[in-house]
């Protein structure tokens, strides 16, 4: 019996998701856990804004404020934004290139569970003696002086989840290079696949510096090394370099997939092919390269000297060129299109001015002398929230609406979606626009309170009101998700009606084997081409219907990651000196990980075959369901 015979029941479903190697199910895992951490980070943001609501507030103590602020940044970047983007990459990119799955399904699962356990480990710090409190950048002079285990939770947790990200990145690279359907040349790949590709390359090159930096940090804190200790001949600035050599590409790892999602949205809802597709592709690659050449602009005020500052200032300004190319291409895609303002399109249109505002303040900060004024002020806070919320988070919300039907087979309510949008969009600008001026008025970032005589009361109060608007928007989105799931109105292949790329040529959600036959790609926007030529069948195919070889589910990735998780506790408490159990825990944890590696290496797992007969039966079932749906009510937007 092959494993497409479905067991139902709650326990069986949970077991299925824990052991799954299916890219679509792993995408759902990424979405759920990323979404959970997004809510955690959101609650932390609300705590920050409540504390800063009025002068001299004592809602949070100074120490707790530092922890909340650190965990807000760390959670949002590493545990919310990246995983949610991984969810879309996993779910959509293999479909867009017509692949059966990702190149390494087992590694895909391993990557997820490493991220998950790393994130859980980091957040357990709240209950185990205090969270990290040296900012998400964790600058060494501050971090080394931090008492308690907060920083160790940070470094060990991020090491584990960093392995996960690296594995995911490599997996996408190999998938996109090797598993494109016949006819899917590089210059026919959808923009979302392209940005996934470049973002994965950035992950490949950017995460090792972070890992090295964090290793040094672990050695300094846990084993008494002196990499960053100036009194012992170390150099505390090196951490900053390592962090930003990783950190600047990291923001492009976040924003490039966001660009990809918006590129898809503009083309779909303007019913036009992307304007300047080639330019968009090369701008993406160029941004990837420039991302590695500008890191020191985060460090203008550390005293690198005028030459270094000038070089990095100029390099930074150059990035505005490819980004500008993208903005104009999107505008020209909309221009003259037959536009429908669905929820994703509204987000996309709102993204352009919001993100451009963040980009412009970025160029302002690239001017090194001006940066001496702006550095470590609320102007910086406003800037990076404009690019990350105005770019990445809007893309995540837009992508959630756009790809929800493809991932879950139901459409999120357009009406509630618009409510979410307006609350979130107004709240976002209300919160952060005014922070530019707080910065110019001299309010430093990362302070837990301010005085009544400093004239910052009103603007801070307005900013807090905006944060509540955003919270209301997110709550409406959650309501939307619950209501849509309860209603459970199934939709067809192409619920938006104007899908252009391959993922819309397949049922929503796709069967576990994706395309029964590998499609043949005849140009950019392959599904659109077939539609325009009146192809009733959807696509033409590159191969006859035949047996499909699929990988088996595996429990090993979960156990392997669990071992790392257990070992981290041992490493963390070993250095207290008074805990005899710490060393055994470390050894047992590593034993679990290496043991499961051995099992994986020695056990032959040849997967299973979906036979042609089973495929035909399954395809007929899908057709019956589609006919039943169309007989009843038209699913989807039109």
């Amino acid at each position: 019996m092959s494993s497409n015979a479905q067991k139902t029941g709650f326990g069986a479903t949970i077991w299925d998701y824990i052991t799954t190697v299916d890219h679509k199910k792993i995408a759902i895992l990424y979405l759920i856990s990323g979404g959970f951490f997004f809510l955690v980070g959101g609650v932390e943001a609300m705590l920050i804004r409540i504390q800063l609501m009025k002068a001299g507030n004592d809602f949070l103590s100074a120490g707790t404020y530092n922890e909340v602020l650190t965990m807000h940044g760390t959670t949002m970047i590493f545990l919310a934004a990246m995983p949610i983007l991984f969810a879309f990459m996993n779910s959509i990119a293999p479909l867009q290139i017509g692949a059966r799955d990702v190149a390494f399904p087992f590694l895909n699962s391993l990557g997820f569970w490493l991220f998950f356990f790393g994130g859980v480990f980091l957040n357990l710090s709240w209950f185990l003696g205090g969270a990290p409190d040296a900012g998400w950048t964790n600058y060494a002079s501050l971090a080394l002086a931090s008492e308690g285990h907060g920083i160790d939770f940070y470094s060990l947790g991020l090491t584990i989840s960093g392995f996960g990200s690296l594995i995911a990145g490599i997996n996408f690279l190999v998938t996109i290079i090797n598993m494109r359907a016949p006819g899917m040349t590089y210059m026919r790949m959808p923009l979302f696949t392209w940005t996934t590709f470049v973002a994965s390359a950035l992950i490949l090159l950017a995460f090792p510096p972070l890992t090295v930096g964090i290793f040094f940090m672990i050695f300094d804190r846990l084993f008494g090394a002196n990499f960053f200790d100036v009194t012992m001949g170390g150099n505390t600035i090196i951490w900053e370099h390592f962090f930003w050599i990783f950190g600047h590409p990291e923001v492009y790892i976040l924003i490039l997939p966001a660009f990809g999602i918006f590129s898809e949205i503009f083309a779909i809802f303007s019913r036009k092919r992307l304007f300047g597709y080639t330019a968009l592709v090369f701008a993406t690659i160029l941004i990837g390269f420039y991302g590695f050449m500008v890191w020191a602009h985060h460090m203008f005020t550390t005293g690198l000297g005028p030459t270094a500052n000038a070089v990095f200032a100029l390099a930074t300004m150059i990035i505005a060129v490819p980004t500008g190319i993208k903005i104009f291409n999107w505008l020209l895609t909309i221009w003259g299109g037959s536009i429908s303002f669905t929820v994703p399109m509204i987000y996309a249109v709102a993204f352009i001015p919001s993100f451009t505002a963040g980009g412009v303040t970025g160029v302002m900060q690239a001017i090194a002398p001006l940066d001496y004024q702006l550095h470590d002020s609320y102007f910086i806070v406003a800037h990076f929230h404009y690019v990350i919320v105005g770019g990445v988070v809007l893309a995540i919300l837009a992508g959630t609406h756009l790809y929800w039907p493809k991932m879950f087979g139901t459409m999120l309510s357009e009406k509630l979606g618009k409510w979410t949008f307006w609350f979130f969009f107004i709240g976002f600008h209300l919160t952060f626009f005014i922070q530019h001026f707080l910065g110019l008025m001299g309010m430093p970032r990362r302070v837990y309170t301010f005085g009544a005589d400093q004239g910052w009361d009103l603007f801070n109060a307005i900013s807090t009101v905006g944060a509540f608007f955003m919270a209301v928007g997110v709550i409406i989105l959650l309501v939307n998700v619950v209501m849509t799931t309860i209603k459970n109105e199934r939709v067809g292949n192409d619920p938006w009606g104007d899908g252009r790329t391959l993922e819309w040529a397949i049922p929503s959600p796709p069967p576990f084997y994706n395309f029964a036959q590998t499609p043949l790609v005849r140009g950019l926007d392959p599904y659109w081409i077939e539609k325009m030529e009146g192809n009733k069948e959807g696509m033409i195919y590159a191969e006859p219907l035949g047996d499909i070889h699929m990988p088996n589910n595996s429990f090993i990735p979960f156990v392997m990651s669990l071992g790392m998780f257990v070992a981290s506790f041992g490493a963390l408490y070993h250095l207290d000196g008074d805990k005899a159990w710490a060393l055994p825990v470390l050894i047992i944890g590593l034993g679990i990980t290496f043991g499961s590696m051995l099992v994986r290496s020695w056990k032959d797992d040849l997967g299973f075959i979906v036979t042609k007969e089973e495929l035909i039966a399954d395809q007929e079932r899908i057709q019956r369901e589609a006919q039943a749906r169309e007989g009843g009510k038209n699913g989807g937007l039109k």
């Binding site: 290079i177 390359a201 510096p209 090196i238 370099h241 590695f292 050449m293 020191a296 690198l304």
Partner: protein
């Protein structure tokens, strides 16, 4: 798996073509092997002749770079068809690593 192996039947012309191609490749490998030994000789001579380290170090680094390229193209077949993406990624990685190390060296330690 055994049933996945394919027997390859070549026509006479194909056979000749493959043979000629292999001969060219072999010649390339022998040539670059000779060059590499020669470069190594230069390196040893430089050090044995006790020139100033400021002369030796940059020349040694340059020779090393040439050796790497020869190795990649003639012995590891990077010039063959279908290796474009690998070459692109390797050289991008090297370029970025070089810039990063250069910048670190110049602004941190000088």
């Amino acid at each position: 798996m055994a049933h996945d192996t394919h027997d390859i039947h070549r026509s006479r012309a194909e056979y000749e073509f493959v043979k000629r191609k292999r001969a060219t490749e072999m010649r390339g490998q022998l040539t670059s092997f000779a060059i590499m030994i020669f470069l190594t000789l230069i390196a040893f001579t430089l050090v044995a002749a006790e020139f100033s380290p400021y002369l030796i170090v940059p020349i040694l680094l340059l020779l090393a770079a040439i050796q790497v390229v020869l190795q990649l193209y003639h012995f590891m077949h990077m010039g063959n068809k279908g290796h474009g993406m690998m070459a692109f990624f390797m050289f991008s990685g090297m370029f970025i690593a070089f810039l990063t190390v250069l910048a670190m060296v110049t602004i941190v330690w000088w």
